[in-house]
Symmetry: D2
Subunit: 337 residues, 4 copies
């Protein structure tokens, strides 16, 4: 920690700060600058209580942490890229992966049609929501276990591994029985109890970014997964909330190179949530590939106008096939397969 004192602080007042730093278990190191005296408080910020409280002291101008708070997710802890294996499909390796499927599982026909179509177009993982977090209690909340069973059936028919969202600590075992990848959604990105509960299963976890989550917080939420001994973590960017109203969210593609620099975990992009508009999805997929993402998570529906949730952002089966085709040169340009 760095403690910056106000200008022209009396020696006596400086002494009080130094004493407090010592009392809290740090070793103070005083540095006299031109305008300010700065105190380095030497000690492990992760094990000691923080000194941030000093920021409200009258002698102190600011308290600045030095150490990054994330450890296990950091690139320093694991120099090479890590990979996640979901029933043989490897995310984070040379091969670029595409997860596709409907926002919500609605019926056997809807799911099977979609599953076969996305597989044919080149998707390697099937997505589909069985439990849906909905802003309003009056909206469709998902088919629940029935939806999970349909997903399992689609996997059996197509061979595609399944990713589906987990909403509740009560459902961890139920969902884990069916899913190959457990998705933690935006609204639960800092539901730490759910994070702790899900890691115990040992299956791959896809952690979406919270609505206006700083990258540091996201890394720390990921740290909850790795610190609880599940190494199969992927980060998924899906847009952050800003003032702009043209799109539902602002997809932060810059998060890709940042995450690649700070962490070793695979990075997945969800352009469907990010834009909230099907007509922007293709451009965003191209950008994701070019910027170094490892996989995409795309909402596809046989008839978006009839979708029970988020119809506006789901692409059609034909649209998805076309999108996959248009992506090819960019995947090649990015040196992926």
């Amino acid at each position: 920690m760095i403690i910056v004192l106000k200008p022209n602080i009396a020696k006596k007042d400086e002494g009080i700060v130094v004493k407090e730093i010592k009392r809290l278990g740090y070793k103070p190191h005083i540095m006299r600058g031109v305008a300010h005296t700065v105190i380095g408080a030497i000690g492990d910020e992760r094990t000691h209580r923080t000194l941030e409280v000093l920021s409200s002291w009258p002698q102190v101008e600011s308290v600045i942490p030095v150490q990054k708070r994330h450890k296990l997710v950091s690139r320093e802890a694991h120099k090479a890229n890590s990979t996640v294996n979901a029933r043989g499909v490897v995310i984070g390796g040379k091969k670029f992966q595409v997860m596709a499927g409907p926002c919500s599982v609605e019926s056997e026909k809807q799911l099977m049609t979609t599953a076969h179509a996305v597989k044919k177009a080149g998707a390697t993982i099937l997505r589909g929501g069985a439990f849906k977090p909905r802003t309003s209690p009056y909206e469709f909340q998902g088919l629940g276990e029935k939806g999970l069973k349909l997903l399992a059936k689609a996997r059996k028919e197509t061979g595609l591994p399944i990713i589906t969202e987990l909403l509740s600590e009560q459902h961890v075992e139920l969902v884990a029985d069916y899913a190959d990848i457990l998705q933690i959604g935006t609204r639960n990105a800092q539901n730490f109890q759910l994070l702790i509960a899900v890691v115990k299963i040992g299956k791959p976890v896809l952690l979406k970014r919270g609505l206006s989550m700083k990258i540091e917080e996201w890394l720390l939420a990921g740290e909850y997964i790795l610190a609880n001994e599940n190494p199969n973590l992927m980060f998924c960017e899906r847009g952050v909330r800003t003032f702009e109203t043209y799109t539902r969210n602002l997809l932060d593609l810059g998060a890709i190179p940042i995450l690649k620099k700070e962490s070793h975990c695979p990075v997945v992009i969800d352009p469907s949530q990010g834009a909230g508009r099907a007509d922007l999805v293709t451009a965003m997929c191209k950008g994701s590939v070019a910027m170094g993402a490892d996989a995409l998570l795309i909402e596809v529906h046989p008839n978006p106008a009839e979708a029970w949730s988020d119809g506006a952002q789901q692409v059609t089966l034909e649209g998805f096939a076309k999108l996959m085709d248009e992506l090819k040169p960019f995947i090649a340009a990015a040196g992926r397969e």
Copy 2:
């Protein structure tokens, strides 16, 4: 729903939109304007599937919802202010209430000292965290049940009802055994499974605003409480996330008159989280009272520099007594007691 068509759409293309509106169960009503044709889709937006999917159709410029999505929390549903009764302390009535206490329960001595002091200064409810949601897995996570027991002891000694945070669906019954008001924190504001689980207890619920939650979403999260038959709901503003870095959050005091206009539920302000700095808390309390809040939730600690969490934003016992004193003329000016 209002569907705005693009300019100069061919009759045939217009017909396709009209047909789809009918197929989805709405009655179309066409209105030809100067620049656009606008279609009113008449039907209950809350029971029909939404028409928002049309926004990605080539003929359509935009789709605009007309109906508000919240019902039971709305002022229209309940013209008078509603009140919440926590062991005889009424929030939302003539009397202005102050909830105060430490961020985290740390020890018997810390809690009892604080409880007696805040009571003496005029607080009417005791706050204290036993389960703490922490950004990093390496930070202090709360004393758990031991903390709850200390809170119960403090209640016995001081007579003050207790408010404490609930983090996990697994803890609902445990926490409800001790607490008089269950607090749902910012990070769980859209953890709908937790909201549904907590209402079953029937105790008062204080619902904090999410980090960058729109007021409409907050009202809808509240709707989850009322729709599940618990009428004892309070909204608690605690700052939203913006670009500003001087304070931890930006306390949105304008939310008070908005909530009072849109809803009948009591409004509580948490200036400690809102500012993240003890030196700004008093000014923010004054503003809250003046703008029509029903209660405050203030973090108080006998020695903030030793606090195990969020020390920088907790006021001292003396600071709290002084704050309560300075608030009096504003409470009177606001016509409260």
Copy 3:
């Protein structure tokens, strides 16, 4: 400046950083912590080139400035509150001031009616826009000089000093001929050439906060005024842009105690722009007074429904009289007149 090195940096690489720090004119001071080596670069950050470029060096984790960049606007430079005198009306003193009038000057009748009414209700300064910055080129751009002449006439009739917005470097002398306070609007808050041009006149300047301006940037924009030798500066908060769509902006009342702490200049609040809705203005005025503002800037119109700009946020003459009445107890509670 504080330079934090990456963990486990070789001595040789550390030496390169140290050498560069010296070359740029700072004196390095090395501090070895538990996880990181930190280098204090001692020297005046305001006169030396900054070291921020080091942040992109491979050896460096982060570069942290220590010194605040504002000088003359800071509380340290001027311990007492400064006041601004506009034709005998003192802003920043014991007396609370209210600036009121129409968003745009539209006609003699509209302006005179409003001027007399706001004076009668207790306003002490008349506001009115003659040059209007409009988002679209097709909107009413103000009456220009004709509007200024009407303002001068209203001043003559009522004795109220005038505040009006200045948009263009070309208009500085023209506007200064008529106005008692020159307002720099939100969109020009970082139009530094306009700031430099306006100070030469020597008249009081009201500097609105930019749309999403950090407080530090706002203080530095104010620094342009004081550094160019005009001491008559007021800061005016008018809401910042966030994700919320219920109101046009989010009025940041917390800026009041922050500005009062960091600076000596008077603080004015514009609740009309802040909310964008007349029905929220009264509550926001109460909050402003309670939190320590020195003055208000309120839009008032004899018939808001006919206003040529921003009708939704202007209060009626009756509404304004009622508002002034309701403010009285809060002004008293705040110890103001």
Copy 4:
């Protein structure tokens, strides 16, 4: 305009709204829905006064504009992509263009070295700031006319057209004498007087997005250019302000497909300002190309550590050559040259 009435409004109160709509020159069209009565107010929103004032009436729930406010910049006004010609270099055509050079012009040596290097690496336009808008009055403000002369010399030596920023209405003619493209910076994006002044010159204008400008506002700022009869407009995305602190801004690459859909004007991306960090520039350039940008604006400096402004975000000469090389496969994949 669509006016949504509150539920259960008395016929008499409805009549008052209808009368006002007529009085303001619109033709009301009443539509009775299940929960609300909705009134379509038919008339040209761009020539009539807006009805938004009704939103503060007690009978009215909301007022919703239907018409887009931009005309000449819209895709509807000009179906084909428009192009901008700067001394023979065409932006917006088949060929992808790269504008590169130092943030500030500092010296002849610095500029000439950079100009030759970026030309050799493939840049087609030279950038360099002679007038710099700086947050603090104590920072380097640019070389002024001396900088412009150096730019002209660099153009003579390399043949590269020049883009440079214009800050002040007073400098329009001076800057226009030297520059081939006039850049309007972020802080002046809504300095409408400057926009009006610059168009008269008739040279190409590059309009950067304001710090937290909505796309609609940006299009309308562009409308100021086209409405004043200068068709040579380019939009330049350079990041918007959010809560994230890891990067200086959040580069909104999603703005590319949105602008391409809404407007016919060329789209340029500035990844240097967008990221504020040289180490993220390459990834952002790749994303820009993939998503359909027409050109890039990149800061390059022979020795970023010695730059007089924004050193952290400028890439080295070698870094730029490598970047240009890495871009090639993406330019090909995007079907550009």
